[in-house]
Symmetry: C2
Subunit: 268 residues, 2 copies
Amino acid sequence: MGKVYLVGAGPGAVDLITVRGAKLLEQADIVFYDALVDPEMLHLCPQAVQVAVGKRCGKLSSAQQFINKRLVDAAQKYQTVVRLKGGDPMLFGRADEEIQTLKAAGIVVKVVPGITAALAGAASIQQSLTLRGVSRSVAFVTLAQGTENLTTGQPIANPSADTLVYYMGRKDAAKIAQRLIEQGQYGGTHQQDTPVQILEAVSTPRERFWSSTLQELADGKADTWFDSSSPALIMVGEALRDPLQSTSAKINNGLQDSHIFANSRRRA
Amino acid sequence: MGKVYLVGAGPGAVDLITVRGAKLLEQADIVFYDALVDPEMLHLCPQAVQVAVGKRCGKLSSAQQFINKRLVDAAQKYQTVVRLKGGDPMLFGRADEEIQTLKAAGIVVKVVPGITAALAGAASIQQSLTLRGVSRSVAFVTLAQGTENLTTGQPIANPSADTLVYYMGRKDAAKIAQRLIEQGQYGGTHQQDTPVQILEAVSTPRERFWSSTLQELADGKADTWFDSSSPALIMVGEALRDPLQSTSAKINNGLQDSHIFANSRRRA
């Protein structure tokens, strides 16, 4: 029986996979890859059978069950099976279902972490997600699918943190912003002029940024900007304020103009 | 003038740096590295001048200012300067101060993300930080240093999320657990029997795990287990429950025994 490696491909750029992940691709007999994985990354494993498992986050669980079964089948036929997953396997990756299925079949599983999009995005815009004296916590959140705990039946609470990063929150962006502003009025962390950074297709040639405030996001100003074919991150928090803007923002304490630009911003 | 690359070294293991980071080390003229970086990683840059900047998180800012100055000086002398930082530069990494100083000096900066310890830790214990229908948010938190926003003077709020990962929370572990249990009694997310996973020296040969519950952590049962010479992560949340334990835990709805073990747990 072979081993199955769940490998995080990282955010998109081929060279943002880990060295360990790249070596496993070079050794793989068969590679199952996500829709979120850049096809260029498969150049690292020309020797392997390459199987697209065209699931994007939020699709039906039957697709997941089919992937689980194919992984078990592959481990009975090949020595080194790589399951290449966009981002990191343990964060919004549904790795758990694959791990449990493989273990139940007596198959050895190893997990190789990947760079999650939020960290690659912070590197792209060169803004820390935490900032000494300003932000000591960051929450990564998805709004996709159910809002009830399937075990307890309790509603899943909205997170709070100094910095919030929403994965897959695009279509609810204005609503999210409105709710955060309302919470801010009752003692919550975020306010109308709290900085917002939206990042699309992080680390790829299609990477784009939108820099604004919570109020402008609530007003729907980002809605026409989104490119629905790219994954987007919505980042909210005082740590994300451009240091060059912070003085005037503090003086005015008002809304800043939104800034729409592509790829080159704050990148040298 | 040279360029300065802030590179995330990842959690510890030499092959958990990104391919991009490893290539930059191979090209570097000079490398400034943290106390948290494994010396073995410097084998990737035998050609470079190697400078230890022996700061661990939470040290005095004068040390940080000295590092900032040395980076500026190096960029005036060398073409490729690498600042190698444990974990990810943009998460609890104080990269912001280095970036602003370098930019103010007119030096080009690029940031290369790294695997943060929480994701490497989740990979080691093979437990997802988010879980469909159970946990849709994870917060990374540090308790180090001030609890006031230096800009606004407002207290920095305690975060809430389905899964919490505390970086550098070791000495306050029992207090953190006690507070989470109290919050749970007033509608918060976590309860006495909520699973806790503590991970030390993630991804290194000294890696150790402690698996228990919030109540046992509150009772101080982890206190003697900690090895203060290793960085530790405290993870809290229902997503971290061992799937093999979940049925009985639901039936008993009581405390589970703690499990203390090294390196091999749930790793194949």
